[in-house]
Amino acid sequence: MSLKLEDNEVDIVVAALRPNLNTFLEEWRSFFSNFHLIIVKDPNLEEDLQIPPGFDHQVYTKSDMDRVLNGASINFSGHSCRYFGYLISRKKYIISIDDDCLPARDNSGVIVDAVAQHISNLQTPATPFFFNTLYDPYRQGADFVRGYPFSLRDGVECLLSCGLWLNIADYDAPTQIVKPHERNTRYVDAVMTVPLRAMMPLSGINIGFNREVLGPALVPGLRLDGEGKRRWETIEDIWSGMCAKVICDHLGCGVKSGLPYVWRGVGSDADNAMDSLKKEWEGVKLMEEVVPFFQSVKFPKTAVTAADCVIEISRMARENLASLNPVYAQAADTMEAWVDLWKVAGS
């Protein structure tokens, strides 16, 4: 597909949790090479990063984070380091893919340009108010079906594009333990809008979003006490995804899910989920409180930007969740600090 935008409207943010980015970047080269890369090094990673030549890129490390944070208490370690990249970017769109994911192949064996697909998702409208049974009506060969109200066919702006993964799916630790050999081999050829008020778990492994409008909503708020480097030892993306979804619903914008797929597996720890269970069990329990909380979030009419909404969520979290678990109070603090930081360093 042809990109209707300038390449300088997109930053690709890579969270480097491992030093060797050679394979990752070489495999993605043909899709990444037109864009600027923001490579954010996990502050806990000591070794130097290995980056192949020929990429327009900038590396950010702990010292950059300390400088920008200027004392603010936001923890950018592990998978959360990517949020620093979101913050300091100046582009309209961000695409972020985990460093253990490679391009996937579709059902005809063609390599998928995940970057182009995310951009296409973000540049075509979303349809959150009424479900189209043929999925994305703006795709070639599809349309709105009989019975779809005409007044809703313009759609609304899509602010978040949630991609999927073949091979090692993004399961939690208990599911990994029960099904250690399961691989996701089903390529579902669809993009769809997640309807208004429907909640979903955002996987940070493969996303694109409109930084201009939604930026502050992708917030490294909820950290598990024992948060680790494996995806199933984290919950930061789930929390920020919930924030993003309720904010999109409030702003009258859309969230899409489905294509593109990436192929996940290089360097992933598909086994050893048992150790992770201790860490992510906490996360699994927290979801029981987090989900009803987000389902009840209501914003005042005065909240007109993503930043306003984040402040509201932080206030409500402090009121309704903090007494249940100290991580929520921490999340509320982080979210407030994040919005302040965004005002200074993010705009």
């Binding site: 479900f131 049974t133 079906v145 019975g147 579902v188 909640m199």
Partner: protein
């Protein structure tokens, strides 16, 4: 959860063959059944013959069926027959009412067996049965779609307390080849064919409405049957091609209220016949305008806590239709009346099991 697992042990065993009826409305012929024979023959068919009752519709040999024409409908329902449409496939809902089975599959007579991307013929009925026998997940969206499918599961972040899901009341299948577009879209894109096989079943989230197409549809009659009234369409009515839409909006509101699930996606059938877009435009004309008000009505419809049965939900909805939609057009007052008549007729033909008397006689084809 799964009510029948015997099919998994013996490949090719028809599932639910004594618990499912196939309802087919027709005004033309039933030639299409030949292609479906390997998949449909074990099941009982209920044919609802629309149009001229003096025509004989030939049912291919070897099928077990009952056939109802307009005379039968009038005889069985008496004055209540007025709620069943004439000269419109909406008449199919009469078949739902007279069925004695737990599950219904309904299919149009221009729908044929499709092939999946590997070239294998799709047993649509089997997929619908799988959809109905596994839970739905209306309360939280699973990004890997149906978590109960082989090779899939709930993703990280999906609350465990919601992983039992909700009972599935409706399975809404899709169509390859001629897509189910409205007349304006058909006129603008007469050559478009749906060639994209999307290998997913998913639950439509609670609180979200959708355009339900009656071409390839299955449902649990015990869980939602009375809500599947296909409205007043066709002869003498100001609207057509909104029968399934109407049933879909009512059904979804009621499913959401009763905490039941609605799935959409697989199976695909092959839709062979493109109806005339000019004829369609005349039928849909009012609907295109009315739906702009009807859909917000359904989106904001709230049923009271006393509505604990489908019938109570439906009667309550009919009151709201009269109150809020009657002002759009007198048609909606008629429709609200017909909704009540439908429930009365349903309850007459389907008395509660404790009070079961003589079962209604079945009508074999002439």
């Amino acid at each position: 959860m799964a009510k029948e697992s015997s099919s998994k042990l013996v490949p090719g065993t028809p599932l639910l063959k004594d618990e499912l009826d196939i309802v087919i409305p027709t005004i033309r012929n039933l030639d299409f059944l030949e292609m479906w024979r390997p998949f449909f023959q074990p099941y009982h068919l209920i044919i609802v013959q629309d149009g001229d009752p003096s025509r004989t519709i030939k049912v291919p040999e070897g099928f077990d069926y009952e056939l109802y024409n307009r005379n039968d409908i009038n005889r069985i329902l008496g004055p209540k027959a007025a709620c069943i449409s004439f000269k419109d496939s909406a008449c199919r809902c009469f078949g739902y009412m007279v069925s004695k089975k737990k599950y219904i599959y309904t299919i149009d007579d221009d729908c044929f067996v499709a092939k999946d991307p590997s070239g294998k013929e799709i047993n649509a009925l089997e997929q619908h049965i799988k959809n109905l026998l596994t839970p739905s997940t209306p309360h939280f969206f699973n990004t890997l779609y149906d978590p109960y499918r082989d090779g899939a599961d709930f993703v990280r972040g999906y609350p465990f307390s919601l992983r039992e899901g909700a009972p599935t009341a409706v399975s809404h299948g899709l169509w390859l080849n001629i897509p189910d577009y409205d007349a304006p879209t058909q006129l603008v894109k007469p050559l478009e064919r749906n060639q994209r096989y999307v290998d997913a079943v998913l639950t439509i989230p609670k609180g979200t409405l959708f355009p339900m197409c009656g071409m390839n549809l299955a449902f649990d009659r015990e869980l939602i049957g009375p809500a599947m009234y296909f409205g007043l369409m066709g002869d003498g009515q100001p609207i057509g091609r909104y029968d399934d839409m109407w049933a879909g909006w009512c059904t979804k509101v009621i499913c959401d209220h009763l905490r039941l699930g609605v799935k959409t996606g697989l199976p695909y059938i092959w839709h062979s016949k493109a109806s005339n877009p000019f004829v369609n435009l005349k039928k849909e004309y009012n609907g295109i305008f009315w739906q702009e008000e009807v859909i917000p009505f359904f989106q904001s419809a709230v049923l009271s806590k006393d509505c604990t049965t489908i019938q109570k939900c439906y009667i309550e909805l009919s009151k709201q239709v009269r109150e809020k939609l009657g002002k759009i057009d007198p048609y909606f007052n008629k429709l609200a009346d017909a909704m009540v008549t439908w429930i009365e007729a349903w309850d007459e033909l389907n008395p509660p099991k404790e009070a079961a008397g003589v079962p209604n006689g079945t009508v074999k084809g002439k």
